[in-house]
Amino acid sequence: MPSHNVIISNAVKRYGDFTAVDKISLTVKQGEFFTLLGPSGCGKTTLLRMIAGFNSVDEGAIHFADLLINNVPAHKRDIGMVFQNYAIFPHLTVWDNVAYGLKARRVNPQDIQRKVREALELVQIAPLAKRRPNELSGGQQQRVALARAFVIEPKVLLMDEPLSNLDAKLRVQMRGSLKKLQHRLGITTIYVTHDQEEALSISDRIAVMKDGRIMQVGTPSQIYMKPENPFVAGFIGISNFIECQIDAVDPREARLLLPDGDTIASVRLARPYQGGGMICVRPEQLIFSDNYGIQARIELATFLGDFVEYEVRLAGGQTLQVNEYTKDIADIRPADTPICVSLNPDRIIVYSEDAEVLTC
């Protein structure tokens, strides 16, 4: 299937004084499953609709391979799109919905027959071909929308939160089949979601967005393990942020100090740095012990099955979230228990005051 890379250079979209997309540059590789992830209002859907041709590009350029598409009207861009609420034509049967784009392209009738049948089989709804959209469940409508988008063999496939209207169980199930299907078709896909778990599980690469800008681009593990700034660290998964003083005259042995002067950890930094900063640590990277680490007290214990989530308050007043796996412990620690907390120095990220990563 002919698929293309997508090159976005310095794309800008403004609504009056508000800049929805602010000089974004990205390259989506051929055949890649690429996700735009961010909170609502971050500009991810705006950017997707700029690629689709429903929003104009105010500045910058969007290329499919080496073709500039800024001024190509939406109906000539040859893009497949799956809409958030499916946008199935309510007056057409499943079959006619899927055949719609092929007919617009004046594909000959035998090929239409064959392609629609194949597409419906691929998404496993061939028996429903003669049904009307109002006789379908949400998941089935989702599959129709998907088949309709890829049956035209588009240059690029766009998906705008396609799973957000499904119930939790079906969502996880569809996630898997979506990824498998995309892999099989090898079609360049740009996917928009605000659900970080979905993004992590489905994507080859993710761009995390905020306020119309890109905060980080990387593989799911890069984004989770090495967030380049506190926003990404806070948005992807749960992070504890601890303000600290950094004493790194010798970057190989930097000391991180709490406001009350206690040393919380000694780590290796990339360069010398002296001054304020912030530690970011995941709840599962904090370790309880009876006598090693910072003095703290358990405020709340929440049993969640495979792990227990604790809210602890440090002597200095700050609260942290600590997760402890149930397979590692004998019992739940009750509230008010005094405890010591230490952190795994290999698994923390230290940011400077300017939110720059200092850890190697």
Binding site: E59, A61, D66, P73, H75, A87, P90, H91, Y100
Partner: protein, 556 residues
């Protein structure tokens, strides 16, 4: 490597919708804005004074003749608004909160009262309670003299039973969209049912009631046929417009223009007052749990049904009367008794032109209304922006322009070069289109608001151009809404009197005009037969509307 050079800034798009907008704006400018501005200009001219002058306005505010008409208008509009509130609100309460017998039937009857033209109502009341009316004569045999139906009493009576459905529809709409938890909260806090009604329910739905009352007010202010037929010398402003225009025939309708401007100013003032009154008081809500219908039985159920039945049946009386009367023999003295088809034979031989005119003009108007209605409602809902909001305001403007005023507008705009249309079928059709378009635009846009915008984008995305998408997908999806609106437009077109009476020439006369002229020349039988033709068409169209709109399109 990258072809195409430096991307240009977005250029203005000369696409399909660009040309549609231009054309629609041009049509509106020619047939709405230009006539209205000509009207305003004309109101500042007089044959007696050179150049621009306030002469007409001075005359209006200094002569008792004109001031009386203004006073009369104010009297009947306010009083009718009050009587409609007194009937409409309790009726809505009974219908929404109790298991009234035959609810569906009464609902249809109430809507019928609204959709039938008021001048037929006026005529029927005269047939029953007029000087030679059946009921008047009946009572006279027992020596009882009934109070006169002519004058302001008759006007208010006719309007009340014609227009109370506005208040009913607005109020019942609001009453069913109150979440029941609101009333339960009041009850829980110790309010009795009656106290709850006056302290919670009614205040919350007040903006809707007000909306209905304003509709009543505007309709009374605009109507020409009723006061003309039953008013007998009780002159109100729309009648005055007609009289002035007739006396100025061959002149240039300056005073009629002035009066028209004053009427429009009055209706704008009322609209403005309403906006102020409901400002910050618009409690829109969607009922998660609509209020329960209270189930009463036996005599109690009879008691809640009785008022509904009385009002609905009295409202239906005019239609029933004209249909019955149309089959009764007449001569120059009036109805003489005995069943016959003579009246229908008479209209078939003498007035068939009016009948074909009515249906032809309305049909042609509806074709334009459907096409324009689809395009305009689409632009209003989907192409937000300056042009769209201007269009939204403009297309609704005819709501505040009474028919007779629109008639004068079109006359003063198109009775001399460059465009002369007076006396043609075209001007009748134009007035129908301009005046009745809002119904179709409203229901069309209501439907469009419920349609997911991405359906259209999906079609474009799959490679179908925006124009083709509009005609193959959007038009298809909007069709039920547009069609329902078009039927309402159709019903009001065939029943249109107040603008037609200004615009018709002998060859272009319609049924409504003929009813008026036949009544004036005391030809009661033919008038009844014509009115029956209209009534039957109206009822049939209305039933068709209820069938295809399936309750999704509001009648108001």
């Amino acid at each position: 490597m990258l072809k195409g050079g430096i991307p240009r800034l977005t250029r203005p798009r000369f696409d399909f919708w660009f040309f549609v907008k231009i054309s629609v704006v041009a049509v509106m400018a020619l047939f709405l804005i230009y006539p209205f501005f000509t009207l305003i200009t004309r109101s500042f001219f007089s044959t007696r004074v050179e150049g621009l002058t306030l002469f007409n306005y001075e005359r209006f505010f200094s002569r008792t003749y004109y001031m009386n008409a203004l006073k009369n208008t104010a009297y009947v509009t306010f009083l009718t608004t009050l009587t409609c509130a007194l009937i409409g609100v309790p009726l809505a309460y009974l219908m929404t909160r109790y298991n009234v017998w035959g609810k569906r039937l009464f609902y249809i009857l109430i809507i019928m009262a609204l959709m039938s033209p008021p001048f037929i109502g006026a005529y029927s009341w005269i047939l029953l309670f007029g000087r030679a009316g059946f009921i008047t004569k009946l009572f006279a045999q027992f020596g009882v003299r009934l109070p006169t139906i002519y004058g302001k009493t008759g006007i208010i009576l006719v309007f009340t039973f014609h227009l109370y459905p506005f208040v009913y529809l607005y109020t019942s709409g609001a009453m069913t969209s109150i979440d029941s938890s609101l009333e339960e909260a009041a009850e829980n806090l110790g309010s009795s049912r009656l106290r709850r009604l006056f302290t919670v329910t009614l205040p919350v739905i007040l903006p809707s009631i007000l909306g209905g009352l304003v509709m009543v007010f505007m309709a009374v202010l605009a109507d020409f046929g009723t006061p003309m037929l039953i008013g007998e010398g009780y002159t109100v402003l729309p009648v005055l417009v007609y009289n002035e225009y007739m006396s100025e025939m061959g002149g240039n309708a300056n005073m009629a223009s002035t009066l028209s401007v004053i009427i429009v100013a009055c209706s704008l003032l009322v609209l403005f007052l309403q906006k102020i009154l409901i400002y910050k008081r618009n409690y829109t809500m969607t009922a998660m749990r609509p209020p329960q219908v209270i189930q009463v039985h036996g005599f109690k159920r009879f008691l809640v049904t009785l008022p509904v039945a009385l009002v609905a049946l009295v409202g239906l009386l005019p239609q029933a009367t004209v249909v019955v009367m149309s089959f009764i023999k007449t001569d120059f003295t009036g109805f003489i008794g005995g069943f016959s088809f003579d009246n229908y034979r008479a209209i078939a031989s003498r007035l068939s032109r009016n009948i074909t005119n009515t249906y032809w003009f309305s049909l042609v108007a509806i074709i334009f209304i459907v096409l324009l209605g689809m395009l305009i409602s689409y632009i209003i809902v989907r192409k937000k922006g300056l042009v769209a909001s201007a269009m939204d305001a403009l297309v609704m403007f005819p709501y505040v322009i009474p028919g007779s005023v629109l008639g004068i507008c079109l006359i003063v705009a198109f009775n001399r070069r460059p465009i002369v249309l007076t006396g043609t079928a075209a001007i009748m059709i134009i007035s129908f289109v301009v005046r009745k378009l809002p119904y179709t635009v409203r229901s069309g846009s209501a439907f469009l608001y419920q349609t997911d915008p991405s359906i259209e984008e999906a079609s474009i995305n799959l490679g179908v151009s925006p124009m083709k998408t509009f005609f193959t997908v959007m038009a298809r999806l909007m069709l039920p809404g547009i069609l329902s609106g078009a039927i309402l437009s159709w019903i009001t077109c065939i029943n249109e009197l107040s603008s037609s009476i200004m615009l018709y020439a002998g060859r272009t006369s319609t049924i409504a005009v003929a009813i008026y002229t036949e009544v004036m020349r005391m030809s009661d039988g033919t008038a009844a037969a014509l009115a029956s033709v209209l009534t039957v068409t109206t009822v049939a169209s209305l039933l068709f509307f209820l069938k295809i709109s399936k309750g999704k399109v509001s009648i108001i």
